[in-house]
């Protein structure tokens, strides 16, 4: 079986359309980030969360009013699919007290529908800011590492555009999180540690796809005249199109499985990786390689590549 065999899309010619599309996506995301902001999970804002599961179906409004009457202020949301609710409130040093308060109130007021507190998380404000810092550090360090590695393996133009493509992917997903955050009850899309893990996974994977395309360009561009670059870029991208899409496809398959089966705790992560891989695949063809082309074109330089001996 074969998909995308012997294609001859003129990617380079139409690159401006792709640039425009990317810019619209990015600007929409940034606008949403500026206006609506992000939905931070307790990892980054601090606070306490209680997951309550009922034996039978329960009404959100009723539980909310019971908790209000008991004097526990916070927000209550449906959590996942199965009669579970997530109650979040400000940080409580003593989660035992919070637990008994919630539990007693529900026990007294909602009869005939026993509940169980299946999870309690509490993150103090100092920890939350620690986590935020280490997340930022991890992201920056990974981008730097990728820049260095690709810079050594290829050359600086390839490395820089590769990292620009990663930025593009992560920022687009971040924008999506802001736009879609809180819209769906089955995936709240909160920014927490697992989303940072998703971003790093996206960064690692985005460059994977990009490197496959670069590798082919490197293999074919050696000793060619700059006037031939457009043809070589196009041919290389068409030749690698099939593998780029299939490699992403297998990962998308397994991430989709995670999204469906792994439960609400993993759903935000799965969504981020899913979106990130689609965008990463798109950007490796429509953003990273065309940018290298433009750069070469504008500076009228020819490529001096390293390490293509293996090819």
């Amino acid at each position: 079986m074969r998909i995308f065999q012997r294609t001859s899309f003129n990617f380079i010619k139409h690159r401006k359309i792709a640039y425009g599309f990317s810019i619209i996506l990015l600007v929409a995301g940034m606008l949403s980030l500026a206006i609506k902001g992000l939905n931070y999970g307790i990892d980054f804002r601090g606070g306490s969360e209680v997951v309550i599961r009922f034996e039978k179906n329960a009404d959100v409004g009723q539980i909310r009013s019971v908790l209000d009457a008991a004097g526990v202020s916070g927000t209550l949301k449906q959590y996942g699919m199965d009669r579970s609710f997530l109650f979040s409130t400000v940080f409580q040093g003593d989660t035992g007290q919070l637990k008994s308060l919630v539990s007693n109130a529900l026990h007294e007021r909602i009869k005939g529908n026993p509940h169980e507190i299946v999870r309690i998380d509490a993150v103090g404000p100092s920890i939350a800011s620690d986590l935020k810092w280490s997340a930022i550090k991890a992201l920056l360090a990974s981008l730097l590492a990728i820049l260095l590695y690709v810079g050594i393996r290829f050359e600086i133009k390839f490395a820089t555009t590769g990292v620009i493509a990663i930025f593009h992917d992560i920022l687009t997903v971040l924008g999506l999180f802001s736009i879609l955050g809180g819209l769906f009850s089955f995936m709240p899309l909160e920014m927490d540690q697992s989303i940072i893990a998703a971003f790093l996974t996206i960064a690692g994977y985005s460059i994977t796809d990009t490197v496959v395309v670069y590798d082919r360009i490197r293999e074919r561009i050696r000793g060619q005249k700059p006037s031939e670059y457009e043809r070589i870029f196009n041919e290389s991208m068409n030749q690698t199109l099939s593998r780029t899409i299939i490699t992403s496809g297998t990962v998308l398959l397994s991430v989709f499985v995670l999204f469906i089966f792994a439960g609400p705790a993993i759903r935000g992560f799965a969504f981020a990786v899913f979106a990130g891989i689609i965008i990463g695949t798109y950007s490796s063809i429509f953003v990273a390689a065309p940018l290298v082309y433009d750069w070469l074109h504008l500076t009228k330089s020819s490529v001096r590549l390293r390490g293509s001996k293996t090819a």
């Binding site: 599961r53 003593d94 993150v123 280490s134 590492a145 490197v211 499985v257 799965a270 293509s308």
Partner: protein, 615 residues
Amino acid sequence: MKNKRFNLLLIIVVTLVSLWSLWPTWRDYSLSKQINGFGSAQDSLKYALSHREEIEEARKKSLKLGLDLRGGMHLVMEVDQVDLFEQKAWNKDPKFIAIMQAVRASAARSDARIIDLLLAEFKKDNIRLSRYFYDIRNSDQEIVSKLEKESVDALSRAKEIIRNRIDQYGVAEPVITTQGSRKIIIELPGVSDENRVRNLLKGTAKLEFRLLREPEVMVRTLDRINSFLVQNSTVPKVSPVPDSSSVAAASLPGSEKVAQAGMSTASNPLYDVVGLSQNGTAYTSERTREYVLSLLRRSDIQALLPMDSELLFAAKPDIGKGGEKLYTIYLVKKGPELTGGVITEAKATFGSQGVQPEVLMSMNTEGTSKWARITGANIGKRIAIVLDGVVYSAPVVQSKIPNGNSVINGIESLEEAKDLEIVLKAGALPAPVRITEERSVGPSLGADYIRAGIQSLAWAFFAVSVFMLVYYKKAGIAANIALVLNILIVLSVLAGFNASLSLPGIAGIVLTIGMAVDANVLIYERIREELAEGKGVLAAVTQGYDRAFSSILDSHVTTLSAAFLLYTYGIGPIQGFAVTLMIGTSASLFTAIVVTREIFHLLLAKNLMTEKSFG
């Protein structure tokens, strides 16, 4: 030929080692299945006892499940460094106390290191640290490094004490580690009584024996505070809840003063909330306790206390006539006569009447002789037994106690007495700790997570392997064999290194399933290209592997470095994800390249491969 044989040998060895490493996990699983399979509990117990060694051996070496899958508690505790540094100072004048208060306030707002904040506050007032810390000749820098060392020591001591407490309480496989200069991370799998564990961990367990002031002194002090409050008109309303003040006053029985106070509320602000009985015992009700506490903490009120004295509350309330809970207030000497450091043994038991739980303590020789001297010199006086700043009991010394025994009573339940026994035996923490992060997962949610994880694994494997078969035909089989080996390697490495598998870890394996076949996709696509150029199968396979290698290496290195950084900067659950992703990615370099290639060689040698084998 030699090289080929080496690869084949390597594959066999890796497979065998993986299976061997996962064998205990399988044994553990089948043994516990067998135990649960018996009809009666007796049979199960009998089987468990007769196979005890085998079961324990298997369990020890089997793949551990993370806290989220087993259910349990994850706690991060922070050592209060401000308190620790305060303890180290030796000349605590009001200036020092003011500075430390400023440090405490700024520590609550910023994430900077406490020692830097401390230094900054002292710099601001142009005071050298040596005025309060260590030797007067020390420079600021020397003192800072000494205090830093002190806090590292305190952290490791606190960790040991917490480990002792947990060991005494009895939790299977606790993991206790330190992070940075003030955090202790505690993982307790399978803990059911979270509240009790929390109380057990957070108490400092600082035990002190302190002399009580005479009742007359107490009465005079309270009078002084009361008249100060009357004069000081800046205190507008005495009670936090206006209407409860009269209720509180009226409900404090057996007190003439309160009765008077009830008549003239405005003139006796203190006695509205504090009752005083004829024998000079002061108390306050549960409702007004917080308010009185905050009142007594004020520095202008503190100044009214007699020299070297402080007011402490009882740990447990007494039940008053009206069923009201009343907390006794004690005026005690500031300096302890003796501290908990001398306690060598503690035992929870029931008291002489057989109903009241209490904790018996014995002391070391030094403590015994001191205790004998103290009790001998204070016959007829009262000595308060203070634990973590609250008074458990304040018995009157009847006679000299020569054998170093003492007892804590005023304890509500035997369970609490047992917990006190544990903390007293483990010793006092060098400084107070507080819980800054807590995550607990109940066992039922853990079971859900396991089910969800296994489902995701199965479906992901199914989807990806079917795709590979359909798309690449025979070559797809090779990739799928490699995939199975890959998963096996990830699990066996986790089991072999005693790492635990968490839900994010499973997510990492699922992601690995998708990524591991990528290398095969790259190779197969390349082989197809070579075949399309008209090369023979053998040449196409060789070229395909050689030419795809560079992009495979690049993509693996980038994924690995991202996962490694995630592991370095991430905490807890995210590290689990990073670990499985790292193992899976490295393993796929081996399985996708070496294993599939070896399979092709075998097939090619037997003429079982044609151009059509690549779909």
